[in-house]
Symmetry: C2
Subunit: 310 residues, 2 copies
């Protein structure tokens, strides 16, 4: 049975990835910081996964967890684009340094495939029409610059070591368990605000277009990497459908019965205008895959934030 | 009078840059590690420049040196492509971290222009014909990945701060004062080996083509940045002339009277096949500039290594 190790497996994307992998025939080790030995999202699966707790920057416990692993998803990346605008050294010292360090360690230990979640929004230039993997990248934020450098270090590891590398350039994730208060996902922020009876914040003119993909869709597509441990691929991971902020607001207004107020704010500097992904490369490996429609999902995501608070 | 600060100003490129700047009307501060308060190459100019000694990673002395500066050349970058192949963390922790840190510091202090020496050989893909600044970049070594990330952080600083940024993607430098024993420059290595009566090392089939530019030409062209502190530019800095390793060996055999032996070795993994730069953007700002011909220079470079040893 293939052995899969996931850092950040108790996070937003990570916990959905664990759930998606549980539907495949793999042995799962989750590395994260578990408070009081308790996970936030994985308790229902405790007897089906191995859980290792610690700070990946300290000690050698990650090396132990990686022993004999076939595939290694490294999902830990602190902060987010909006908040690191004035902290380039944090991206270098903390995120890039850690990412290069743990992937090098994994490759040295003979892990067969390294898998990295990159960011389409932070790397691609906004444009009209679909963006494929061959499009030029031009990160403009410290977050994006560090994500791209991490991608390049993975390419380098694939030349230096006998290791395959999959990179997923993920579009705008939404779904339950996304952290709020960090300006990371507009769907989560809005759901949380409405649940708390606060106004929701609407940036710019509502014309900013994003490719929203449900986190469970993203997680299931990311299991593609485990099927074939030999190949190395760069994948766009998005729904291929653009949705403007104004259209998203329309969906909220039609799907959520609780009334809410909207406050309009200036566009944030770090927001690119239109980013919609060409996802054909990834779908060619998942020919029967059907994406969830966001208009069918908003209500259940809202229920998560109503029930769980922040 | 414009104030210019240079880190690494006592190095190979740096000391030539200081000499080139001395021919312009600027006030020069050199920041480097001076042993026993003595520079290696700048003693003849001691009364015409300000010298600050220290480790730029420690203490606040660099901030003091930067006070009131108009232009800041940061030339310190440890190691080289050949030796960092197995040390990606060194490039991240040491070089990239330091570069981002000192440029951020300079921008915060109100320096008007930041200038960074990047590497054409480490960034561009080998190709036939001239490579212009719009060509795609694809670094494959830790050194190149970190250089590209540094370029991108500079672009980010130019958006975050009211600062201009010039980047020079420099081709293969040669000339006196280049360090030997670090596999950095083939001309220096060969001159040193011949001066020491050792065999010279010839990599591959001799078909690898490089764009050799004399360090003094490069230094004088890099003074372009001080003329106009408002503009931000990415410049290729090369002669625009390709020379194969075999042709370089021919020049050595015809120009150097001392006999020498050649030992042939396998091509190094980090060597791209053919890189010759389109330098029109930079030459359009220096219309009367004439490059030194390498066949006229090898003998005098050899004299440097004969006289100075390592």
């Amino acid at each position: 049975m293939k052995k899969v190790v996931i850092t950040g497996g108790d996070g937003f994307l990570g916990s959905h990835l664990v759930e998606a992998l549980l539907e495949t025939e793999v042995e799962i080790t989750v590395c994260d910081r578990f408070r009081n030995d308790t996970s936030r999202f994985l308790e229902p699966y405790r007897d089906r996964i191995r859980m290792c707790s610690g700070d990946i920057r300290q000690g050698d416990w990650l090396g132990d967890a990686l022993a004999g692993a076939d595939a290694f998803y490294h999902l830990i990346w602190s902060g987010n684009p909006a908040l690191t605008w004035t902290s380039p050294l944090f991206e270098v010292d903390s995120n890039l340094q850690t990412t290069v360090s743990v992937f090098e360690r994994a490759a040295e230990q003979g892990v067969k495939k390294l898998i990295f979640p990159s960011s389409a929004g932070a790397l691609y230039q906004p444009t009209c029409g679909l963006i494929d993997e061959g499009a030029g990248v031009r990160p403009s934020t410290p977050y994006g610059i560090a994500k791209l450098a991490a991608e390049e270090f993975l390419g380098y590891f694939s030349k230096r070591f006998p290791v395959s590398v999959d990179i997923y350039r993920i579009s705008s994730l939404y779904g339950p368990r996304q952290p709020v208060g960090r300006k990371q996902g507009v769907v989560a922020e809005w759901c949380h605000s409405i649940a708390e009876s606060q106004t929701i914040r609407f940036f710019g003119q509502g014309k900013t277009v994003r490719d929203y993909v449900h986190v469970d869709d993203a997680a299931r597509l990311m299991t593609t990497s485990v099927k074939d441990l030999e190949s190395s691929q760069l994948f766009n991971l998005g729904s291929g459908q653009g949705l403007s902020l104004g259209e998203l607001l329309d969906i909220f207004e039609s799907q959520i019965s609780m009334p809410f107020q909207v406050v309009r704010e200036a566009r944030r500097e770090c927001d690119a205008q239109e980013i919609v992904l060409d996802n054909q490369r990834l779908l060619s490996k998942n020919t029967s895959f059907k994406f969830r429609a966001i208009e069918d999902e908003i209500e259940s995501v809202f229920q998560f934030y109503s029930a769980n608070g922040k």
